[in-house]
């Protein structure tokens, strides 16, 4: 057990390290470097040409004259030791402030979406399996497929259009006006919950379809097992027969799906938030990429991915704990 844990943990650290390399590569992607964009920004805002010595001094100050691996090392060391993600020249402060302000909301939405998927998919999947090839099964399957086919950003658009057209208000934002800039409080949190359901439904719908199908297939497999026949022969009622063992068995793979659903949810959250203009990571990531505020972008990508990987790790542990049949190889 502990050996398994340790190995998974090492894998996770390794993955996070790869993620940090990818995120660092993001900083290097645009032509020129941070100082070049700073110069052009100063130039655009009416500044004079900077003397070359000053530019060289700036490069030295930010360590941009050093080889790449040293730059990477400096960048990652600052993050790990000081929690500093690099200066954001849009917000004129360290990217940390923005990242820590927005990231929790992103993960709150993703977690709620996960919950939504389960709440929707488990009963529907059980129903579909128990009433295989019934009208209800077909209807749910069809609705599920539509959920799969309508990309989340389109659903966001359509819902926004409907609310704007018929309810006369745009469903933009996550807080009512009076709480938007207020510090966090219980009232603000409750206010957020009131607005949260819209993005949660939009992001969750896509995943629900896949989950319904997984649940249905798992449960159908279970229902064909001999123990179900035995129970039926003993006269166990159909309902009890269904819920007592087969459903519990069929639920196990659900936990392991967190691993592959979570990255999709986080990705979906990013794009839906851009459309709905929610105060989460999405718009900041998008904006910083557009304006080449690369430290901010890299910081977000690093943190979002790292937290996703940690989430997957936890789901793996949960699975082992839930399903003793999984022996740790």
């Amino acid at each position: 057990m502990w050996q398994y844990l340790a190995r998974r943990f090492v894998y996770m650290i390794f993955t996070i390290w790869i993620i940090s390399l990818v995120s660092f590569a993001v900083i290097q992607l645009p032509p020129g470097d941070y100082v070049t964009s700073m110069i052009s920004q100063m130039y655009a805002s009416g500044g004079q040409n900077m003397p070359p010595e000053y530019i060289a001094q700036l490069r030295e100050q930010y360590g941009l004259d050093q080889p790449l691996h040293l730059q990477y090392f400096k960048w990652i060391r600052k993050i790990v030791l000081h929690g500093e993600f690099g200066y954001s020249f849009i917000y004129r402060e360290d990217s940390r402030e923005m990242i820590f302000a927005r990231l929790p909301v992103t993960f709150a939405i993703s977690a709620f979406s996960m919950l939504f998927i389960w709440i929707m998919a488990i009963p529907i999947g059980v129903f579909s399996a128990a009433h295989q090839y019934s009208i209800g099964d077909y209807v749910f399957t069809f609705i599920g497929f539509i959920g799969l086919a309508v990309p989340s950003f389109l659903m966001a658009l359509i819902l926004m259009f409907i609310s704007y057209k018929y309810f006369d208000r745009a469903m933009i934002g996550l807080f009512s006006v009076e709480y938007a800039d207020a510090p966090w409080s219980i009232e603000k949190f409750i206010d957020m919950l009131k607005h949260l359901w819209i993005p949660v439904i939009i992001i969750g719908t896509g995943g629900t379809a896949g989950m319904i199908r997984t649940m249905r297939a798992n449960l159908l497999d279970e229902l064909n097992r001999p123990y179900v026949d035995t129970a039926r022969a003993k006269g166990v009622s159909e309902n009890r027969l269904l819920w007592k063992y087969p459903v519990r068995h069929a639920l196990n793979p659900f936990v392991s799906t967190i691993g592959w659903v979570l990255p999709g949810l986080v990705g979906g959250e990013v794009i839906v938030s851009v459309v709905l203009n929610l105060p989460t990571s999405g718009p900041v990531i998008f904006d910083s990429l557009m304006k080449q505020d690369m430290y901010m972008a890299a910081g977000f990508i690093l943190m979002v991915s790292t937290l996703t990987v940690i989430g997957t790790f936890i789901s793996d542990l949960l699975l082992v704990w839930l399903d003793p049949r999984i022996r740790l190889t």
């Binding site: 390794f14 993955t15 992607l29 799969l148 086919a149 309508v150 926004m160 979906g268 794009i271 990508i301």
Partner: protein, 398 residues
């Protein structure tokens, strides 16, 4: 199917020797199954999946329209009538005063009191007759796009379109017009060429990556397998969208449309090969233990031949099914990237590029017909999903 076949063989066993079976007792259907090839069995199984059949027709229709987009679209993608900015859809009417005469109604405008912008509406008093094979702008059909000397001369110039106004100077906006007075319906048809081919190329690329890496992983095993599996797991646990955004966002603005098209395809393929690689690896692992592979190996078959003429053919069908299921993801990915403005760029038209205009909810509320490309996306993605589902079921016909 299994049950019926075995029932049939039981009957044969039970039949005493020397007694001829009357022909009407013979179950010809089951005999057919006994001698059918694998592909025939798959085809029969696929034919039973009604929804998948319909979807196959829809998908083929989409690609057919995409290939002959210039003919099916009443206008070229860049044709515009500057005057008819955001004109509403003009539905087709079939009867005029009781006589059969397909037509659309004309357009009329009022001035917005504040902004003095023209606001178009359908004017029932004007009749614009429409017809099949109407004359419109000229286009080429043939091999002119190949750019190869001589071959590129093989084309004909045509000016007929499937449907259009009888008088080509009159407006016919079946699904309304966009901000420059371009026909949404026509642009949607032209877009299908880009949007659908991005999916095809992307899937082809990810197929190559998936088969090579998945195959290596499954065949060689050991260290190579571990490394590739680790790589796949890492890629699957990272939210790809921000990284796709990051790569797409730094594509230099002066790149040609073609280069942007290819980089987007590569990005899409790069982020989606993992699923296929897993399928291929699993197949190779299980096939390695099969008797017929062992037999071939003992026969002295070379590794290359073993892979390509013994192993791969036995799971072509699975690959095809997996690819079909991967295609809608590609189409949606391109649409999402282009919608956000980091994918394909005008003058290239794709469904995502067209949807860019709907980003502002105020625009969308005034001109909801801008959402039409979304309908095209949803239908084709649904069709691909059903088709892939049917293919996956049919891929294992036993």
């Amino acid at each position: 199917m299994n049950v019926t076949v075995s029932q049939d063989s039981i009957d044969q066993v039970l039949e005493p020797d020397g007694i001829t079976i009357p022909p009407d007792v013979l179950d010809t259907e089951n005999l057919k199954i006994d001698v059918a090839t694998q592909w025939q069995l798959m085809w029969w199984k696929f034919r039973r999946h009604r929804l998948a059949n319909i979807s196959a027709v829809i998908v083929l229709f989409y690609y057919f329209v995409a290939i002959f987009a210039e003919f099916f679209a009443p206008y070229q993608s860049t044709d515009y009538i500057a005057e008819y900015v955001y004109s509403p859809p003009q539905p087709i009417h079939f009867f005029d005063d009781g006589t059969f005469k397909p037509h659309v109604k004309g357009l009329t405008f009022t001035r917005d009191e504040r902004s003095f912008k023209k606001i178009w509406s359908v004017d029932d008093s004007q009749v614009i007759p429409i017809r099949f094979f109407a004359k419109g702008s000229e286009y080429k059909i043939g091999l002119h796009w190949t750019k190869i000397p001589l071959i590129k001369e093989l084309y004909v110039t045509v000016d007929r379109h499937l449907i259009g106004p009888v008088d080509k100077d009159q407006p016919m906006y079946l699904m309304g017009a966009d901000k420059s007075g371009r026909d949404i319906f026509s642009r949607m048809i032209h877009s299908s060429r880009i949007s659908l081919s991005v999916g095809l190329f992307g899937v082809a690329l990810s197929m190559i990556l998936g088969i090579v890496l998945g195959g290596l992983s499954g065949l060689l095993g050991g260290g190579v397998d571990t490394i590739i599996q680790r790589l796949i797991e890492i890629m699957m646990s990272i939210p790809m969208l921000p990284i796709m955004l990051a790569i797409a966002a730094v594509v230099p603005p002066n790149w040609t449309a073609l280069r942007v098209y290819f980089i987007i395809t590569i990005i899409l393929a790069f982020t989606s090969w993992t699923g296929l690689a897993r399928v291929v690896r699993g197949k190779f692992l299980s096939l390695r233990e099969e008797d017929f592979i062992l037999a071939a190996r003992l026969d002295g078959t070379g590794r290359f031949r073993l892979i390509f003429s013994h192993m791969l053919p036995s799971f072509y069908s699975h690959i095809i099914a997996s690819l079909t299921l991967a295609l809608p993801g590609m189409i949606l990915g391109e649409t999402a990237l282009s919608f956000l403005g980091v994918g394909l760029r005008p003058p290239v038209v794709s469904w995502g590029v067209m949807l860019q205009e709907t980003q502002k909810v105020a625009v969308l509320a005034l001109y909801p017909w801008l959402l039409w490309p979304a309908v095209a996306v949803i239908i084709v993605v649904l069709a691909f999903n059903f088709l892939g589902d049917g293919l996956r079921d049919a891929a294992d016909p036993y």
